[in-house]
């Protein structure tokens, strides 16, 4: 069965630090990959998605992710985080229906 692993449960950074959140999935077929963000008290919002083509995907708010097929990974990055990036981040894989990772809580200290 397909699964999604997010290895970092809670990440704490200072403003302007660089961010990389790991995401690995286990599925051998064609997949669509997503990162969602959930700000405190709000609903899940799409940050970015990969379907095909350039494996480096740029999303909203300066986020990007790189699909590395050989590593079954889709890590999320941002060069310089802001306090407003404090949120929960979920990686998701869709090869039929959407399956989510357990999430990574990001706390950015001002």
């Amino acid at each position: 069965a397909q699964s999604v692993s997010q290895h970092n449960h809670h990440v704490i950074l200072s403003e302007a630090a660089s961010l990389e959140l790991g995401c690995n999935y286990s599925y051998g077929g064609t997949v669509n990959l997503f990162w969602y963000v959930q700000y405190p008290g709000q609903h899940l919002q799409l940050l970015l998605k990969y379907f095909s083509g350039d494996p480096l995907v740029k999303g909203i708010k300066g986020f990007e992710a790189e699909f590395i097929k050989s590593k079954f990974s889709f890590n999320l990055r941002k060069p310089s985080v802001q306090w407003s990036d404090t949120a929960e981040y979920f990686c998701a894989v869709n090869s039929g229906d959407m399956r989510f990772g357990a999430g990574t809580r990001l706390t950015v200290k001002p």
Partner: protein
Amino acid sequence: GAGVSQSPRYKVAKRGQDVALRCDPISGHVSLFWYQQALGQGPEFLTYFQNEAQLDKSGLPSDRFFAERPEGSVSTLKIQRTQQEDSAVYLCASSLSELGTGANYGYTFGSGTRLTVV
């Protein structure tokens, strides 16, 4: 409407009580999904509708959980004889595309219903 609407936002139920959670998807969205999100966890798939047809209910945790979408738009998730372990946020999402068609527009999520069973 402009987004996926869920009601109520919060529900407190006594153990053993039946509850019904409502989801209004985006108009015209073919696919509708229900997820359960326990505290500190990612959303877990419950069930999927394509129009009025419930094509996948493999994620429903027990026969106390029942979902319907009789006219292919609004959906209701019903939980009978609620238990404390049912306490979670129940998320609804809708999508323009059908599963398996190769077209994937991603999902739009509602704000969820937070169910607390006491």
